[in-house]
């Protein structure tokens, strides 16, 4: 019997190739960590000087007027908040409702139509939505609500709702789909109607996934830039009461996008804009960590129940 059938000459070369490729693949695997680190590093590097250059009391002030050296970021934060809250007031009920419809009620053909449609909305560039917001939505709002201008936080909220919807619908729908069929069958067998089953059994069973969907939707809304910048009127006023929804507002993202092109790099204004970017980065980090923590908790609970 032949002891060795391996082609001996090719072997070292193959090993060498294999080692190089494996190493390259491994390095690529770690690239995501490197990039998150790099992004944070550059935001801190360019943004932290602002903390020294501008007194803290001014930074948390109520006036954003960079030309005269007023860098109060509260109006921008409140602008982002009110636009996002308005967007969620629309996107959460419609998003979860649509997800419930697709996953629990819709006949097969309707599902086949709805899912690509929602994906389509997710693919529309936000600048296109902003463009239609300027031409159609804001004139409509001005007339319908009899406002001095249609370029308001409300217009931004409505567009943001459209932008957050695909995220909410698709993730919530996945979560509802993942609920075992036996849960529903059990409820139906006990005499519940399909409606009672949906609300009493399926939705509570999927609640962590639905919560994740909502949080990622909020993340998308806070981070959205172009559509919001185009329709909110960009007035940096503190938005504290409900009426602010019907007045112009300015978000953190829109401020960066609108002003970064015109500042000298290295100026105080430049550093403050990076500081706002850092704040946005930390907010998105918090939202995403919270969203994945919910998923993780759900998994451990499921494991406990099943064991």
């Amino acid at each position: 019997m032949r002891a060795n059938t391996r082609p001996g000459t090719a072997e070292p070369l193959r090993n060498w190739q294999e080692a190089v490729l494996s190493r390259a693949v491994r390095l690529s695997g770690y690239s995501a960590i490197v990039f998150v680190g790099l992004i944070f590093f550059f935001l801190v590097r360019e943004g932290s000087p602002a903390l020294i250059e501008v007194p803290l009391a001014d930074l948390v002030g109520l006036r954003w007027y960079p030309i005269e050296g007023h860098f109060g970021v509260l109006p921008l934060i409140s602008g982002s908040l009110i636009v996002t809250v308005g967007a969620m007031a629309v996107a959460i009920p419609f998003g979860i409702g649509t997800a419930m419809f697709i996953s629990e009620i819709a006949p097969r053909w309707a599902r086949e139509v709805l899912k690509p449609m929602v994906e389509l909305l997710g693919g529309l560039p936000s600048v296109v939505l902003g463009f239609l917001g300027i031409l159609l939505l804001s004139p409509f709002l001005r007339q319908a609500l009899d406002l001095p201008t249609g370029l308001t936080a409300l217009a931004g909220s409505l567009l943001l709702a459209g932008i957050a919807l695909p995220t909410i619908v698709s993730i919530a729908e996945d979560a509802l789909d993942a609920v075992p069929k036996s849960y529903r069958e059990g409820a139906l067998a006990l005499g519940a109607t399909r409606w009672q089953t949906m609300w009493g059994v399926t939705l509570p069973a999927a609640r962590s996934g639905v919560l994740t969907a909502v949080m990622l939707g909020i993340g998308r809304a806070i981070g959205e830039t172009m559509a919001v910048m185009m329709v909110t009127g960009n007035a940096p006023v503190l938005a504290v009461q409900l009426g602010s929804l019907f007045a112009p507002a300015r978000t953190m993202t829109a401020t960066i996008a609108a002003e970064m092109g015109e500042v000298a790099s290295g100026s105080v204004h430049y550093h403050v804009l990076f500081l706002i970017g850092m704040l946005l980065f930390l907010i998105s980090l918090a939202v995403n960590v919270a969203a994945s923590a919910v998923v993780f908790r759900q998994r451990t609970r499921a494991e406990r129940v099943l064991s």
Binding site: E18, L21, S22, V25, S28, G29, Y30, S31, A32, I33, F35, V36, L38, I39, F42, L43, G95, G97, M100, F101, I105, L114, V118, E119, L120, G123, L124, P125, S126, V127, V128, L129, G130, F131, L132, I134, L135, G162, T193, R194, W195, Q196, G223, E224, T225, M226, M230, T253, I256, A257, M260, F274, G277, L280, F281, S284, L285, N288, V289, S292
Partner: protein, 295 residues
């Protein structure tokens, strides 16, 4: 209480419950309709309003008269270059990272950290990517506002989409394929290269196209890294700034007074045709692969 009475009460309750269900279903149906109808209207409206502007001159000419006349070729070509540049950097890196996660990585703390990093990359606001690109590529690496700097910025933004989709596609390939290949003497890399990657290719391709579609439509990341307000010629090198469709639409709808509405809708139509065309290709790739798949 008599059995008869109880039954009657139950029946009445049942009627109410059925009524509630019917109302509820109607309400949810209306919700779904209210979500989807505006999407269709938006697309149809842009097609109707934009179609009259589309002509050979519009698609192949340069902007004239302060962009109020002429065509949008530099913006179309610019978006094409940016998309291509994004693909050059993000596809090899993203697919390699997915191969690592699906084929090499053990479930340990480092791998969890990689996954958290990917989720966070996906959640970072696009304008923050713009800031990062400005800080690293434009200023620190002295690439200037250029196609190269913008493409690099867009690639990092696209990376999480490509990694997640590719990893899912790789994991969907049955384990038996790998076992058979290795038992026939294939090395790990040969198995990945010859067996796993080809099988996962359609899934990877779909993810890549969807990621690039998002990059093509983005404005905020290229605002300060590569987009030119007005540059009525085609870019000569990767170090040139360039016009791009999304930024051009932003410019002509907010920054240029007395802009003819026809050209604005025409530009919007070309942009969504570009983006939705990629979406369509991805859908076709996916459905054809699904039909042909043997496992």
């Amino acid at each position: 209480m008599s059995a008869d009475g109880r039954l009657r009460r139950y029946a009445a309750g049942g009627g109410r419950r059925i009524l509630t269900q019917r109302l509820g279903f109607t309400l949810l149906t209306l919700t779904a309709v209210a979500t989807v109808v505006p999407i269709i209207l938006v697309v149809v409206y842009i097609v109707i309003q934009g179609a009259p502007a589309i002509s050979w001159e519009f698609l192949s000419g340069v902007p004239r008269e302060g962009m109020r006349q002429g065509g949008i070729l530099p913006a179309i070509v610019g978006t094409f270059y940016l998309t291509l540049g994004t693909a050059v950097f993000s596809v090899p890196l993203g697919v390699a990272a997915a191969v690592y996660l699906a084929e090499y990585a053990q479930e340990n703390a480092w791998t969890r950290l990689i996954r958290i990093a990917i989720i966070n990359l996906a959640g970072i606001p696009s304008v923050v990517y713009g800031l990062f690109g400005l800080g690293l590529f434009v200023l620190f690496l002295h690439l200037g506002t250029s196609i190269l700097a913008a493409s690099l910025t867009l690639s990092i933004m696209t990376l999480p989409v490509i990694i997640s989709a590719s990893e899912e596609a790789l994991r969907a390939v049955p384990q038996a394929f790998r076992t058979v290949s290795m038992s026939l003497g294939g090395t790990r890399w040969q198995t990945i290269r010859r067996i796993v990657l080809p099988q996962a290719l359609p899934g990877i391709l779909t993810g890549v196209i969807l990621g690039l579609e998002r990059a093509a439509g983005e404005t905020a990341p290229i605002l300060f890294t590569g987009a030119a307000f007005f540059l009525p010629r085609l870019p000569h090198s990767p170090l040139d700034a360039t016009m791009a469709l999304p930024y051009h639409l932003f410019v002509i709808s907010t920054q240029v007074p007395e802009m003819p509405i026809r050209i604005q809708y025409g530009t919007a139509l070309v942009l969504i045709a570009f983006v939705l065309g990629m979406n369509l290709i991805a859908t076709v790739v996916r459905s054809r692969a699904r039909a042909r798949r043997q496992w």
